[in-house]
């Protein structure tokens, strides 16, 4: 145990350092006054392309400049106040610009005095390359109409009207937009900002309050489309780790036990059969069990890493295969008085699975005292390894009090009768005790 303590102490120090760094970084996050939340603390610097697919905004626009001149969010984005869907296009139409910009479509290069809002087309419109756009140019790119704004429907539910009615200011979510130039999908609010209110207390924390849902109420994760691929989407929607620190990274399939045991949370995206597909033990996952795993699985089984029991039951799955492959003897089911026969080699003299001295000495006599090479150490260390081949009757052959079965070696440690294990086992299920002991004998009693 000393080695465990030393390793644990070193690890604790490393964690403390990492935690200090993490908390220090957290303290350094920018937070604006009131309900304003910084998205700088979110695990990814950019929003998911599956949530906000690719867009085209061929405009030159400076929010900061307009804000300095007294423009307000609501003044231009009028439709935002009544919008109830994230799919609504809330980019102000040309009419909204005309209140300041005296645009005349007949005069694309209309000049205005200094200090007056520009009215030329290329003051706002740009081509696909970001260059100023003017109509009537011989360049094929410069058509009669300016390149259009193309916004893909976000894979999200959002009601601007509802949020506005609750007094949530635009800048609470669109942090810093008023100080930016052109605002694109990269600047849209991310989940970390939503969660500052959607914490289950101020507002619902249900995933499908914002995420698009499948008919059965799960979060829809298959969102791939041409627009999401164009924005760089990879595979289905997976947690970024913002909510539960459960980013589905490269080790998640192997190390998801902690997150995975929170049933209701997993089922907010997964179908129940997703668990059984892997844990049902029908198909070998190649990243967990590499090629020819049968040859090497005994190493993992002896140390039980990974935990075999998460997919396999030793007394049915393991015993079944071990009997069939000739590793386990005793295919006759341990019928007393009948010698185990194995048609596949083990125990026939051609092959012996356990090394000499495992249970018997070279003369074939059962060992009366355990040795360093005998089976007792392996059994005490990890009995699951034994039960992947043996059934109870293998142990009963020598560890029962019934002398007709064979030698009588107690498996109980010193003072077992005085232990809590004796009292609890005996009080709850004496049937197990009676497999070795005779009813009514004093050996069945624990010390109180």
């Amino acid at each position: 145990m000393k080695r465990f303590d030393r390793v644990a102490a070193a690890l604790a120090a490393a964690i403390a350092l990492a935690a200090g760094g993490a908390l220090g970084a957290a303290a350094g996050d920018k937070t604006a006054p009131g309900k304003t939340v910084s998205t700088a603390s979110s695990p990814s610097a950019h929003p998911s392309p599956l949530i906000y697919p690719a867009e085209t905004i061929p405009l030159k626009f400076d929010h900061a400049q307009h804000a300095r001149l007294g423009a307000t969010c609501e003044g231009c984005h009028v439709s935002a106040q009544t919008s109830t869907s994230a799919a609504d296009n809330l980019i102000p139409p040309e009419a909204a610009c005309r209140s300041c910009h005296k645009i005349d479509r007949a005069q694309p290069d209309k000049a205005v005095p200094n200090g007056v809002a520009a009215a030329r087309c290329d003051a706002c419109h740009a081509d696909a390359s970001g260059n100023a756009w003017m109509p009537g140019n011989a360049d094929r790119e410069r058509r009669a109409d300016p390149p259009r704004v193309v916004l893909a429907r976000p894979n999200l539910k959002f009601n601007h009207q509802l949020h506005g009615a609750r007094g949530i200011a635009c800048a609470s979510c669109h942090v810093g937009a008023a100080a930016q130039g052109l605002v694109t999908r990269a600047d849209l609010p991310m989940m970390a900002s939503c969660l500052s209110c959607h914490d289950g207390k101020q507002a619902t924390a249900r995933c499908t309050a914002c995420h698009v849902a499948e008919p059965d109420g799960r979060v829809k994760t298959k969102l791939t489309s041409a627009a999401t691929i164009a924005a760089g989407a990879i595979g289905p929607l997976v947690p970024s780790g913002t909510l539960r620190l459960d980013a589905h990274g490269p080790t998640f399939r192997r190390d998801h036990a902690v997150v995975g045991r929170e049933e209701s949370y997993c089922l907010s995206c997964h179908k129940r059969n997703d668990c059984i597909d892997c844990h049902g033990g029908v198909v070998k996952p190649p990243d967990i069990h590499p090629a020819d795993y049968v040859s090497v699985h005994a190493i993992d089984a002896r140390r039980n890493v990974p935990d075999c029991s998460t997919c396999h039951r030793a007394q049915s799955f393991c015993v079944g295969c071990h009997q069939r492959s000739g590793v386990a003897a005793d295919p006759e089911g341990g019928i007393p008085g009948r010698r185990p026969q194995n048609p596949f080699g083990t125990g026939t003299g051609l092959k012996q699975f356990h090394p000499p001295g495992w249970a018997r000495d070279p003369s074939g006599e059962v060992l009366s005292m355990p040795r360093a090479s005998s089976h007792s150490l392996a059994a005490k260390r990890n009995i699951r390894t034994c039960v992947s081949c043996h059934r109870e009757d293998s142990c009963l052959a020598c560890h029962s009090t019934d002398v007709t079965r064979g030698p009588v070696f107690s498996p109980h440690g010193p003072n077992f009768a005085a232990t809590a294990r004796c009292r609890f086992l005996s009080a709850r299920n004496r049937r197990a005790c009676l497999k070795c002991h005779t009813p009514g004998t004093a050996q069945l009693d624990c010390e109180q």
């Binding site: 619902t204 109420g217 760089g232 595979g235 090497v296 005994a298 295969c321 299920n429």
Partner: protein, 471 residues
Amino acid sequence: MSLPRAALLGLLACALTPSPVAAYEFSVDLRTIGQGYQVRRYGADGNNELLSRRRLTQYIDLNVVDIAPMYLRGDYGDRNVLSFEASLRFDTDFGGYMLGRPTGPDEIGELKQSQLDILYAFLGGRNVGGRVDFQLGRQLRFDLVDFFAFDGGDAVYHFTPEAAVEAFAGMEVRGELPLSAPIYELDGTSAGSRDPVTRPGQAKMLRPLVGAAALAGREGGPLSARLAYRRVWSATADPLPGEPTSGVNDEKLSLVASGYWRKRVQMVAGARFNLLLGEFDDQQLVLRLRTAARQWLSVEQSYLAPNFDGDSIWNVFAAGAYRDLRGVYEIGIGPELKTYARGFARFFTESGFAAGGSLGAVWRRGRGMLRGDGYWDDGTGGRKAGVDVAARAPVHRKLELEGRLTGYHWRSDQPVAATAGNGGVVFGAQAGGRYRLGEGMRLHLLGEDNVSTYYLSQFRVLAVFELEASL
């Protein structure tokens, strides 16, 4: 008017009376999995041989959602207040692997030629009346320190969004029951044993299960906890004078708590007291930290003591336990490349130690993927060291090709006699592809061949056909 005629008219009137339209939705997922592979066995002549195993597995999953009438539906996701979920599996084996297997009273559940299992099938209710969640039927339950399956009912009553109580009762699902898989059955007893002392008839006895839990904390909130109790027992099969008439098969008390802080730190702790053994048999403590954008550290400490069905003598034999320390550090280098380092150490209380680690990286772009992993571990059990490289590339909008190369060295720490083999080298190659046949239809084919110290070829083929349909 005669009574039958009146009844018929009444039925007709009911049928023709306009009623609220309920928009049920059905989804059916079918997965057909065909596998052919070779299993190494010890031959009667002392040599290694390969058994041919051919296996066909059919999953049928049925979901019926939105069963509830409109007036029961609320905001957001509440539309699916009542639903029915079921998963059936038919598994059948062919090939030489099945020849000579134990049959009759010695038959082992997972070596049956064919099996039909209901993995789960229940009517579920969510947020019914704003207070109650329930499930009625065959269901799986799991949390940090427990998992089990039972046929029965489960109900959760929410007093407030932060506090709820849960009660469940039914019969434990066991492989001995018809249409039941033994996957989640507690280990330690064998239905294939015929030794009278092991009481083979006990396997067929029904096992009532009762349990309760108290839940605290709001969904998505910073703190949550679950305290749960569960007891499973059975009547004694053919008790003799002096024998108990019943016995407890499983009895556990568990507490799981989790907390999140500033969306950067997560701590989960769980402990389980086994009332059969009178001791804590499972303790886990997990700390996850987001150290920077796209960087994660996860550290776990756990203690696990083997435990078995209350009818098993191995609860007495299982003296040893183990403590684990595990750590993972993940670093994302841009949105497409992720790397990790992982390590573990296992300390056996009855002497023994094993440790190991792995390093790897995954690069993804669009539907393409390239992954490399290297690992090494040593100690109790033996030594393994190897590398694994996997790749997937889209070659058509409907077709992706994939491949994997694996090589490793292994050496067992327990010498076994003669030609059984204590170590060796394995090289494996996989190649295959996934083809999208249409909306919701996919075909996945994979071939694998392995060369090792013990044989020149060991072939494996896997074919999966998936069909998802919604009505």
